[in-house]
Amino acid sequence: MFSFPVYLAMHIPDGYLSLPVSLVTGGIAIALIALSLNRVQSEYKERTVPLMGVSAAFIFAAQMINFPIVGGTSGHLMGGTLAGILLGPWAGSLVMSVVFIVQTIMFQDGGLTALGANITIMGLIGTFGGYYLYRVIRFLIGRNTWLGMSVSTAIASWTSVVIAAAVCAVLLALSDTVSLAVGMTAMLSWHFMIGIGEAFITLAVTSFIWKTRPELIYDAPHTLASRTSPSGREE
């Protein structure tokens, strides 16, 4: 047998969370997935479907790439906010759930009993929390401007990672795995930095699509289609 220290494993394993915490987060995940399926059925058009496949593929692959931050620690993309920005919260949530389910079932990344928590923390906090924060900020700055898109994308994706880390610390504390104050401080201090990586990747992908195929973004900018002058695409 060859054994290498596989730190590609990164999600919450079995054993960290208590049964009640697993059940509640599992329930939240199932409820939001069911709601998302419903909304995708009623709201989405055929043309979103291929983008769901591509987004899942990209987020799965990108999550494998742990990037080093300081002090011998790494981070990786979560992708929930990215999925929410590109596909909207409903299709975005389905895509994130597919990614986490495959990671857990096929690749033993994250525990089965923690699957609901992993989907909720790293997926749904981004696809709902991250997406709505992005939307509010983008619409405040300017829905159809590159500035509005980029600032809101960066802030929302960074925030989603920090909130995810905080919620994870709360779940660990509720499970008596580690005390809240100590766990929270440790989780937040690393994820303040990891969130910067999330913001960079999310912004890179979103800007690329904004400049090449803006109509594919869930809240597509209005002006780009009508205003064809080069000034509309500058930046």
């Binding site: 060859f2 220290p5 596989v6 730190y7 590609l8 494993a9 990164m10 919450i12 394993p13 079995d14 054993g15 960290y16 399926l37 995708v40 059925q41 009623s42 989405y44 055929e46 043309r47 979103t48 479907v49 291929p50 983008l51 769901m52 496949g53 591509v54 987004s55 899942a56 593929a57 990209f58 799965f60 692959a61 494998m64 790439i65 742990n66 080093p68 620690t73 790494s74 990786h76 299709a91 389905l94 597919v98 990614v99 495959v102 990671q103 079932i105 096929m106 690749f107 033993q108 990344d109 525990g111 089965l112 580690v178 766990g183 440790a186 989780m187 690393w190 994820h191 990891i194 195929r213």
Partner: protein, 105 residues
């Protein structure tokens, strides 16, 4: 339609490229949660033999590697490619089923 096909193919190609050529070089350092678990000494609470290792997939994949392929980088790359294709197909399929129900043609 043609334009969308190009986008889908190039998006999938990008994802596969990342999975194949970048994942073997990903940082081996513990990620945020792993690091905290080590520092705060709750790492050993992780179940030794989790239920996921009872699943048939564990016969083939051990985390992001393929057991039958001894070369670490190739093994990771192949596991990454497999996973990328699987989530691509599943997400597309679920989207297709869900959307079709609302717009029968």
């Amino acid at each position: 339609m043609h334009k969308n096909n190009i986008l889908v193919l190039s998006g999938l190609a990008l994802a596969l490229t990342i999975a194949a050529f970048l994942s073997p070089f990903a940082s081996k350092d513990p990620d945020g949660l792993d690091r905290v678990a080590q520092d705060l000494k709750f790492e050993e609470k992780a179940t030794e033999e989790p239920a996921t290792k009872q699943l048939p997939f564990f016969q083939i994949f051990e985390e992001y590697s393929i057991k039958a392929v001894p070369d670490e980088k190739v093994s990771t790359a192949l596991a990454g490619i497999t996973g990328t294709l699987v989530v691509f197909g599943l997400a597309w399929g679920i989207g297709k089923l869900a959307v079709r129900k609302s717009e029968p043609k």
